[in-house]
């Protein structure tokens, strides 16, 4: 063990220059009862005491607060059961002064004790800054986690509410369907001259009205049920669908309507087979809705062009299209009246109908485009619209393309 004496060899110079404070040490020698016998000159200033405070005979507990309460450990040192008492980074509060951190170490120095003091302020202040940043980050992290939890539970609640709402809608629409079908069937029956006597025009008119409006209502109910089916995040079926054939089929099925509307429909297919994965009924409905919308609004002598192709570059969309997938797109372009810029942000919203459409008296629920959007989203795709008043509108559907070789 090192031998310490009361000479000043441990203290290189005093008072010490500030920048060397890291190296400053001091010591206090005591007898077996911890009464001071002597001290290095640096000891008193380190403890923030006047030099006379460390006079011979003074109790060490009086001048060194951190030792109070540690009597048991000191006894253990005296008995040789404990090597030393080490208290690190003790900050003796000094009113209005910079913090000073001391390491205190009490050891046996027969026949008494020695208390070693070292100033560790510089290292401690640096450590303080690091810890401060660390703790502030932790607090920020905790706050974020908490906020995230709150958002998630809010989101869950919203999801449940929305689910309950659409459940109710589904039940209501489903329950409407059977009585409506009954009403329409009876109206059909009443108008069937092979069963009943022919009606007078006065009788016929209101029954025809019941029949027509009943059918409109049934259409709406069916549309609402379709919409509900599209609420699930994935299509019910996952078949490989040749989109080229699907589009041609849709065009054929709407041929009569096109003729009636006096609108020309042209189609340019893709150069390579364009295969997507999903529910063909749902995609047929989506493409069908776009085409029949066009037929409805383009007007006599108008033209609708459909085109299926692989886009040379992906458009900037938010969120962006996954660039690791191969995308194909279908455009449906009409030269109809176009959509006003103010209406554009709303056209996919349920029940939205532009003022012009509402005034035109054309029937429609305002759900057609909502169905298109939901159907395409369900298939991992995107639909966008571009329009110019008096020039026409283009709807573009983007769908991820299945690489057949990889299948």
């Amino acid at each position: 063990m090192l031998k310490y004496s009361t000479d000043k060899t441990l203290v290189p110079f005093f008072p010490p220059p500030e920048e060397l404070s890291l190296l400053i040490m001091g010591y206090i020698l005591c007898d077996a009862d911890l009464k001071i016998e002597g001290a290095s000159k640096s000891a008193a200033p380190l403890l923030d005491l006047p030099p006379e405070a460390l006079q011979k005979g003074q109790s060490l507990f009086k001048v060194c607060l951190p030792l109070v309460g540690n009597e048991a450990q000191i006894e253990a040192i005296r008995a040789g059961q404990l090597e030393h008492l080490l208290l690190e980074q003790v900050n003796l509060e000094r009113q209005g002064a910079k913090s000073r951190y001391l390491n205190l170490c009490l050891l046996l120095q027969p026949p008494g004790f020695i208390l070693l003091l070292s100033d560790v302020s510089q290292a401690s202040l640096q450590q303080q800054q690091v810890c401060q940043q660390h703790n502030e980050l932790l607090l920020l992290h905790e706050k974020l986690v908490l906020q995230n939890d709150q958002l998630q539970s809010l989101n869950r609640e919203l999801g449940e509410l929305s689910q309950r709402k659409s459940d109710m809608l589904a039940i209501a629409t489903h329950d409407l369907r059977s009585p409506l079908s009954g009403i329409i069937a009876y109206a059909d029956l009443l108008l069937d001259e092979s069963i009943f006597d022919p009606l007078t025009p006065d009788q016929r008119l209101p029954i025809e009205s019941i029949q027509r409006q009943g059918k409109n209502m049934l259409d709406l109910v069916d549309t609402l049920l379709d919409l509900r089916r599209l609420d699930s995040s994935e299509p019910q079926h996952q078949n490989t669908i040749n989109l080229d054939m699907l589009v041609q089929w849709v065009i054929r099925s709407l041929q009569d309507q096109a003729k009636l509307a006096e609108v020309t429909v042209t189609y340019q297919g893709a150069e390579q087979p364009f295969v997507v994965l999903g529910d063909s009924e749902v995609l047929q409905q989506a493409v069908g809705n776009l085409l029949s919308n066009g037929l409805k609004y383009t007007g006599r002598g108008g033209e609708i062009r459909l085109r299926l192709f692989v886009p040379p570059a992906l458009p900037d969309l938010l969120p962006p299209l996954d660039p690791t997938l191969t995308w194909g797109c279908l455009t449906v372009t009409d030269n109809g009246p176009g959509i006003a810029p103010d209406d554009m942000p709303h056209i996919f919203e349920p029940f939205f109908r532009t003022k012009e459409v509402r005034l035109s008296g054309l029937p429609g629920s305002g759900l057609g485009l909502t169905i298109v959007q939901k159907a395409i989203h369900q298939h991992g795709g995107r639909v966008i619209a571009q329009s110019q008043l008096k020039e026409g509108t283009t709807f573009t559907i983007f769908l991820p393309y299945v690489n057949q070789e990889a299948e």
């Binding site: 309460g69 048991a72 208290l87 690190e88 900050n91 303080q128 932790l138």
Partner: protein, 170 residues
């Protein structure tokens, strides 16, 4: 003259230093200054007409009780275990601190400070959580705010009374 060492322990940033400063200097600062090591201060109290000197040890806090430097706790007659009522984890860590303190000194006297009560609504579930833990551990619990000063004096008085009572008992 009776002197007792009393430690403030608990997770970081729960308000140990703030309670210490409110009690010793009647000061409070909104800004957070991480404590390194330990801060010491002597405070003379008058408890039921009797003088008692507390040597307060404001220790550095970590993420939980495993970060506590055990050498700071030696010889403490009492300790105040602090939590931040807005941070559930800091309440849930109480039993670990209690266990640690009792392991070092089985006869240590403890008081729980549920701090930052000024930030909590009167019906917040964290209040009940703190009460449950205090009841199970059979330790007095005081809802404090270093910010408003609410119940801070009472917190130290409560522990001081216990310390004096134990003194008489000896």
């Amino acid at each position: 003259m009776i002197q007792r060492k009393v430690c403030l322990v608990g997770d970081f940033a729960v308000g140990k230093t703030s309670l210490f400063s409110r009690f010793v200097y009647n000061r409070f600062s909104e800004s957070y200054m991480t404590t390194i090591g330990v801060r010491l201060q002597r405070k003379v109290m008058l408890v039921e007409g009797q003088e008692l000197t507390l040597i307060l040890w404001d220790t550095e806090g970590g993420q939980d009780s495993t970060a506590v430097k055990r050498t700071y706790l030696g010889g403490a007659g009492g300790a105040i275990v602090v939590c931040d009522l807005t941070r559930e984890s800091s309440i849930r860590h109480w039993p670990d601190y209690i266990q640690l303190l009792r392991q070092i000194n089985p006869t240590i006297l403890l008081t729980l400070a549920a701090n930052k009560v000024d930030l909590l609504s009167p019906t917040h579930p964290h209040r009940t959580l703190a009460q449950q833990i205090a009841q199970e551990a059979k330790i007095p619990l005081i809802f404090t705010s270093a910010n408003t000063g609410e119940q801070v004096e009472n917190l130290f008085q409560t522990l001081a009374k216990e310390l004096l009572r134990a003194e008489v008992f000896h």
